[in-house]
Amino acid sequence: MTGGPLLLNRVIEAVLTAGVLVSGALMLAGLALERTPLLQWGIVVLMLTPVARVVVVTLGLALERDWAFALISLWILGVLASSMYVAAHVARPRSPAVAPRHA
């Protein structure tokens, strides 16, 4: 148990750093080369970075046998999954704020 929480902090840090670096590189390349798919991947990686962080926290807490907090973490993962589910089922494009793509 000793050192466990600190190790978990290190792993979270690594996940966040990796997410930020990869998405930053993709977005930069996308802007420089005017390539939409690169921008899109950059933003998707950025949006998934907090999700990856919660996955790691859930696993870390389970390994520490801190079941109560692992369950809390799992709940948050469930909320994020519901958000993706809602997103996957909304009609697009929804808002008149953005002009239709093929206009």
């Binding site: 929480p5 978990l8 902090n9 979270i12 840090e13 966040l16 750093t17 997410g19 930020v20 998405s23 930053g24 977005m27 930069l28 996308g30 802007l31 005017e34 939409t36 798919p37 921008l39 899109q40 950059g42 933003i43 998707v44 950025l46 949006m47 998934l48 970075t49 907090p50 999700v51 962080r53 919660v54 926290v57 907090f69 809390i72 973490s73 709940w75 948050i76 909320v79 994020l80 519901s82 958000s83 993706m84 809602v86 997103a87 996957a88 909304v90 697009r92 494009p93 929804r94 808002s95 704020a97 953005v98 002009a99 239709p100 793509r101 093929h102 206009a103």
Partner: protein, 286 residues
């Protein structure tokens, strides 16, 4: 990879006129540095900047702000974790509320018209500005190391001294987090601007721990609604990417600077800015 992430939302061929990437990155950098200094996402300043100065439609601005807020939160969390400022367990408990709020706000946002969004934003900023302006400045930490911090409390090293804090009034923290999450999803603000003052003033959490823990939570809160904005096509890719790219390095810098700046003066400045921006936003639709 979920399927909805793959089809293109608005890219270079979107109808939104885009200002220069450099200016947008500068806007992202400015709000990112303020955001990470104070442990807030920075969206409270970014959305008004994008709508009032760049003339970007508010829904597009909110979506870009959410993306930038995730960048600020993730980048500053790496610095804060390293310093041992983040209270991971407290963050988890409160994330239950912020993520649910974020999801609900994201769904609700599509039901509001542009003027309604402007008014909601103006009102929110005014209330928070007043709260920040009048909040108390008392210290919450206990110097006696024999005190048990409890399951959610913790210890903090500051200026070579060790302090202990206990979490008080957890339901208040939970309620504030739910509200912060909903506002995040609705208006693209991180919500730290509500959580940090409440956690510090009412719940006994040292300001720097409150800021660092809030910053970590903000990433999850913003992600809970960002997927919905993205799927609706409100995330204009070059715009959001430019702002986020400015915010990334600025947040790292802001998080590193945060222990050298007199937070009190920043707060007074923040309160004034919030009230001023609120009036300008309300003026747009009145």
């Amino acid at each position: 990879m979920p399927r909805f992430l793959l089809p293109l939302p608005s890219g270079y061929d979107s109808g939104v006129t885009e200002p220069s990437s450099w200016l947008l990155a500068l806007a992202g950098a400015g709000t990112g540095i303020v955001g990470s200094l104070l442990g807030i996402g920075g969206g409270a300043f970014l959305v008004p900047l994008l709508t009032l100065y760049f003339g970007i439609p508010i829904r597009t601005a909110i979506a870009a702000s959410l993306i930038s807020v995730i960048a600020t939160a993730s980048a500053s969390a790496t610095v804060n974790l390293d310093r041992g400022l983040v209270n991971l367990r407290l963050g988890l408990v409160l994330e239950v509320a912020t993520s649910v709020g974020g999801l609900a706000g994201g769904v609700l946002a599509s039901q509001l018209s542009q003027p309604q969004l402007f008014m909601a934003f103006a009102l929110t900023l005014a209330v928070i500005g007043l709260l920040v302006a009048v909040r108390s400045k008392r210290r919450n930490v206990i110097a006696d190391l024999a005190v048990d911090p409890g399951r959610l409390g913790g210890r903090l090293l500051e200026g070579g001294k060790e302090y202990v804090y206990r979490v008080r009034r957890l339901p208040v923290a939970f309620g504030a987090s739910l509200l912060a999450g909903a506002l995040s999803g609705l208006l693209g603000v991180g919500g730290g601007i509500i959580k940090v003052p409440v956690l510090n003033t009412f719940c006994g959490i040292p300001i720097r721990v409150a800021g660092a823990t809030s910053a970590l939570m903000i990433g999850v809160t913003a992600a809970a609604s960002a997927f919905i904005y993205y799927a609706r096509g409100d995330v204009v890719l070059p715009l959001a990417a430019s702002v986020a790219l400015g915010a990334l390095p600025a947040s790292l810098l802001g998080a590193r600077l945060s222990d050298r700046v007199q937070i009190r003066y920043l707060k007074i400045l923040m309160a004034l800015l919030l009230l001023g921006v609120s009036l300008r936003m309300a003026g747009e639709v009145l």
